[in-house]
Amino acid sequence: MKELNLHRYQRQILLDKFGDETQIKLLSSKILVCGAGGLGSPALLYLAAAGVGTIGIVDFDIVDLSNLQRQIIYNNNDIGKPKAKTAVKKLKELNPEINLIEHAEAITNQNALDIISQYDLVLDGTDNFETRYLINDACVLLDKPLIYGAVLKFEGQVGVFNFKSKETEYTTNYRDLFPTPPDPKFTTSCNEAGVLGVLPGVIGTMQATEAIKLISGIGVPLSNQILTYNALENSFYKLNIKPNQNTKNEMPLSKEQFLKFDYNWFCNSTKRIDEIDIYDLNNLIKSEKLTIIDIREEGEKPDTNDFEYLKIPMSRIYEYLIDFNTTNKIILFCQTGKRSLYLTEVLKEEMPENTIYSLKGGIVDWVKHN
């Protein structure tokens, strides 16, 4: 290591619980910031200023005039320049003693594991759901803490995922909080809905604070929690997150699965309107005539006597389809809802006149709750 000039960090070394040792921890740490935008700008500036020894910056974008209202690492002369490279240049001017690594590319499931594995923790400042789920899943697979932040209009969220603190016995991640992405038809982004420029400043700075706390071990991190901030009302609200067993069925559990996982499909498909849960089914049974079909192969358990259903194994569904004629809503179920969802999507194309749903959670979920 270069000879340390700790005078730069004197004001924080003075702090109780900090000292030279904690400063050296920061100088030895490696943090990846995904997205050098509204959240990334303040986070990067403070992490570099605080002496985080290695900072990686992922961003494929270039600086646009409309970014400058909140992306305070850039100035008017930077318009049209690549963000990752420009941010590196600014941070070098701020603190030449640290190591800065530019990743001027989009993070994808093909490069995420290689990039993230080079760092101790990740700060998510990206601006879309695909990338947020992707970064989350990569961090879970690689067991890296993830500092999450998101903003819209006048409100922000910040939290720490995949980090086991002294206070907690388990870890949680983004999918425990939001198991499935919202329907893109009904979401709004900052491009459409706007964002108060100072808001990502507040949230990005909180993300940097959490990163410094995690590395240095001081204070209580927002582990397994999400904190919301409303700038108009000056209100904070903190929520605890518990592990959600159902999310394990949806996320890639190995490197191979991750490389094949289609995040674009996951966030943009219409699958969620193809599914009903056991409570919807309960209501439907009471209110209308349904054709419910068990598509499991012969001999699969459990069974139920709670409602009437046909048994048509998925492997033979086409033999039955030929003279299948009903105006009833069709509900398909299998063991856990995976095969029936797949089949629902296939059959919707074959039988566009019919309304077909897959039972989410499958018969296992039904039996558990009835």
Binding site: A150, L152, P181, P182, D183, F186, C190, V195, H369
Partner: protein
Amino acid sequence: MSLKILFFGQLTDFVKKSEINSDYYSDTRELINFLETEYPQLKNIKYSVSVNNTIVNEIYKLKENDEIALLPPFSGG
């Protein structure tokens, strides 16, 4: 007999308030049925539900004076 319900993000646009009090409902499913009848636009939005500051993933029994929050995801950065 009442529940306190807090709304976040886009949900406040539909409800026009960030906080309401409702009659008592015995579980989160019943409460959400009521809210979706009262504010139909909620049906189109994904959100997580918490009871007394803890996210609940399944149907959750409610007690009088419980505080329920509806938190939508957002992705801006």
